[in-house]
């Protein structure tokens, strides 16, 4: 990896800058209500854009049909669990157990 140093430096700077920006004392601007509103949709949007392909499109890589894919079935279970329970650990462990069980049985 020739440009690994650049990747590491660039990514470290970007992630730190995003986390630090509003801790900077002499910030020349304040966030307007509209910007804050727009930013409040970032976390749900970006996290969804990451979990949806894992749950719904992973069947393409594992020689399973869409409906029998462990990713889909266990993913739907975690959605159901997350409607009822708040504990991340519980949701991850229960659905991961189903996921592994399905993978082993196929």
């Amino acid at each position: 990896m020739d440009n690994f140093g650049l990747v590491l430096l660039g990514m470290s700077c970007i992630t730190f800058a995003c986390r630090f920006l509003f801790f900077y004392k002499k910030l020349p601007f304040e966030l307007g209500e509209k910007t804050k509103l727009a930013l409040s949709y970032t976390a749900p949007s970006v996290l969804t854009a990451m979990w949806v392909p894992i749950v719904f499109l992973s069947y393409q890589h594992i020689e399973q049909s869409f409906f029998t894919s462990p990713f889909l079935i266990a993913g739907l279970l975690s959605i159901l669990l997350s409607l009822k329970f708040k504990s991340t650990l519980l949701i991850v462990m229960v659905s991961m157990t189903l996921f592994i069980t399905l993978q082993l049985t196929y």
Binding site: L8, M11, I14, F23, L37, Y41, W51, S58, G75, V92
Partner: protein
């Protein structure tokens, strides 16, 4: 007498501080345990795309952003350009802008050192438990925030290390489906955050568009879908009150 009082006060402070550190670490521990499979995946995938064990660990030590690390490793695997790695890092990390804006009023008068440390350890999980603390106690504690952040950092780096070691001995560890743990974690974070109609719309828009974009093989699906999701949420925000 005058000498005794500060000492006894210090001792209580020490005990309170220790309790606070203990509370913070136990609050974030379940979330930290849930990301262990993800850390293992990051470590092993880094080895698979050709990074040295040291380089793989350095990513977790310095970048400390699971989603961004994983996306960049996927891009490195397909020999993606530096510019696309950095732009996806920015999009994925941009949610931290909001977290930092929320904490601003609480930390703006702290020392540079404290602000830098809180920023460095600021993750989705640390933000979540610190906000819960803020709500309970009506006051911000940088000790609580930092203890939670550092606990998470340690677990994240240890699990990356396990992934690096395991990745060298167990071939195809990334075929085990460890990424499913990521999906489950994100679902567990996103679902309870949907309290408004507009958030639901932004999640639906982002999810549907990422599928369409990925199936049609359009590049930067993640970035475009995120922007569509944000725009949808923003544009439907006016409907929130009508829908409770």
């Amino acid at each position: 007498m005058l000498d005794v009082i500060p000492v006894s006060k210090n001792t209580t402070n020490n005990i309170n501080n220790r309790q606070l550190i203990y509370q913070a670490s136990t609050a974030i521990l379940p979330l930290a345990i849930a990301v262990i499979p993800w850390g293992i995946l990051c470590g092993s995938l880094a080895i698979k795309v050709g990074l040295s064990p040291l380089q793989a660990q350095l990513m977790s030590l310095f970048i400390f952003a699971g989603a961004a690390q994983l996306a960049s490793l996927t891009l490195l695997g397909t020999s993606g350009a530096l510019s696309s790695i950095l732009s996806s890092t920015f999009i994925i990390s941009s949610r931290h802008l909001l977290y930092s804006a929320v904490f601003r009023e609480h930390v703006r008068n702290s020392s540079m050192m404290v602000r830098c440390s809180i920023a460095f350890f600021l993750t989705d999980e640390m933000f979540a438990v610190t906000c819960a603390y803020l709500e309970r106690n009506k006051s911000f504690s940088y000790l609580y925030a930092l203890s939670a952040g550092i606990t998470f950092y340690l677990v994240w780096n240890c699990s990356t290390f396990v992934g690096i070691v395991a990745g060298q001995f167990i071939p195809n560890i990334e075929d085990l489906g460890l990424e499913f743990a990521i999906a489950a974690t994100f679902i567990a974070i996103v679902t309870p955050s949907i309290k408004r109609f507009s958030t639901l719309m932004s999640v639906l828009a982002s999810g549907i568009s990422v599928c369409i974009l990925s199936i049609t093989g359009i590049e930067h699906a993640l970035i475009i879908a995120t922007c569509i999701g944000m725009a949808t949420g923003f544009l439907t925000a006016s409907k929130d009150k009508n829908n409770g």
